[in-house]
């Protein structure tokens, strides 16, 4: 089983978000970067489990400059065999998908796995775009995936429930919570990651279809209105008359 896992760099989940350059850029000063949790906890770990069960290889792919290398090393420490970095800034989802598709084409991956979304852009776009560009079947928001030879049985989240489906390799799948459990890299993994192959590949010509023109933070909340725990009638009254939500 030859598996490619999309790994993207994301700010740590506790990051306080700030912007710079007239609110046109995310302020990276002092920000701790991690592997996007959906890519790491679910996509990468499930890929490793499948490899451990049936043999094969797990390669990660990241679009980014050299500043992404520490995050890529972290994915290698978790257990990926080797890594590829496409040397370009990830300007939008389509640009990223074009890079992944161009690299993966002709390499014979059985499964291309990635997290269902990044925690910084929250688009859920790249997986579907890669599938379309490579003319492969796409399964999104998968919470369980079992392989039997080249056939996969996958559970994916749908509105109000779960759908069970079957698909044959090769295919593209995006991973949601439930697909695997987070693995904490051990010292051996961290040491081994230092010498694993991290190949840097030039980007292909591709265009971004969208651009972010400005960022903004949500409006500050006014201060909380405290209600006496003995007076829930007052809360109901406020929700009805003031907030008008019931």
């Amino acid at each position: 089983m030859k598996i490619l896992v999309g790994i993207s760099k994301a700010p740590d989940t506790t990051t306080k978000i700030k912007f710079t350059d007239g609110d046109t850029k995310f302020d990276e000063a002092g920000v701790q970067f991690i592997v996007n949790p959906y890519d790491e906890w679910y996509a990468l770990v499930r890929a490793l489990e499948l490899k451990e069960a049936a043999g094969g290889s797990v390669t990660t792919i990241t679009i980014g400059g050299a500043e992404a290398d520490p995050v890529i090393r972290k994915a290698l420490a978790v257990g990926a065999d080797d890594a590829v970095r496409i040397d370009a800034q990830p300007t939008d989802a389509f640009f990223v998908a074009e890079q992944v598709a161009a690299y993966a084409k002709d390499k014979g991956y059985d499964i291309i796995l990635m997290g269902k979304e990044t925690i910084n852009y929250n688009g859920s776009q790249v997986g579907g775009m890669v599938a379309e560009l490579m003319d492969l079947p796409y399964v999104s928001n998968a919470s369980k995936m079992d392989m039997d030879g080249s056939n996969a049985t996958i559970e994916r989240d749908i509105q109000g429930g779960i759908e069970v489906l079957e698909v044959a390799t090769p295919f593209v799948v995006s991973a949601a919570k439930g697909m695997a459990e987070q693995r904490i890299p051990n010292m051996r993994g961290i040491m081994a990651a230092r010498t694993k192959k991290l190949e840097v590949v030039a980007a292909v010509e591709a265009e971004a279809l969208t651009e972010v023109t400005k960022y903004a933070l949500p409006a500050e909340k006014g201060s909380v209105k405290l209600i006496d725990p003995e007076n829930m009638d007052e809360l109901v009254e406020l929700l009805h008359k003031e907030a008008k939500v019931i």
């Binding site: 989940t13 859920s124 079947p137 509105q159 969208t210 405290l226």
Partner: protein, 322 residues
Amino acid sequence: MAVLVFADVLDGKVTKSSLEAVHYGSKVAAEKGTDNVVVSYGNADEQSLANLGKYGASKVLVNRTVSDMDPSKLAKLVVAAKEAAGADVIVFSQDYTGKSVAPLVSAKLKAGLVAGAVDYPNLADGFVVKKSVFSGKAFAEVKVNTDVKVVAIIPNAVGKEEGEGSATVEEFSADLGDSRITVKEVKLETSGDMVPLPEAELVVSAGRGLKGPENWGIVEDLADVLGATTACSRPVADIGWRPHHEHVGQTGIAIRPDLYIAAGISGAIQHLAGVNGSKVIVVVNTDPEAPFFKAADYGVVGDAFEVLPKLTEALRKFKSAG
């Protein structure tokens, strides 16, 4: 050029989030001075489709040959309908189906996609749409630089308005290619009439402060009286007190209900990320220093075991008074 909206179907009915997408499409079409055409599929019943007129659809194209949620077929259907309708704006809901199909349509047409929009496009300076980023901690204005634009609107972000009108419904055929996935089973988890979390307008949520899964009765009672959907914090889903599909937060489901009531949840930044799109937040916590109070509109410093039943009782009184 027209606006085309994709409408998803569940149990023969157009879904609530798709009604919002149709309403969204009608607003964009009105501003452009054009038609709002809807494309749907499967076993959508005729009346449910004609009713889309009330949400601003002028015409509905329906393809009965595809019944499963097969992203590849649905993407081909949407592209064929876009050609037939002469549309240059395509609207999806950013629900599970939209997340599966919209990226394929975007890549097929090389048309820029704004996935997770929270507002109508600003057409004054090209086509700029506000979207949620950093898991609800910020917004981005995204400009689409292609002739055809694709927007996927987050459920419950702009709501919907029901007016008068009836849409004409036409059968629509297109070459959708072969199926490459086989759907074996569909398991619906939400019980009874409970609205699925991403679409819910009222949500009651609880965390570790509830001390154990056996104590969720008071949460369910409150949700029941309100007609709300239940949710939970991440630790509670992780230790198995509640199912994973109830977990709201940065790594769970992001929701934006009108009212979010949180009991026994301290309000870690990761939890807030998933819920701070809520219009009104009520926090019940024994600890007056809980960070959640800073993000709340209304707060009750008290024990959930006492406060929730009292709130349920007060609501019951309010409801029966009409």
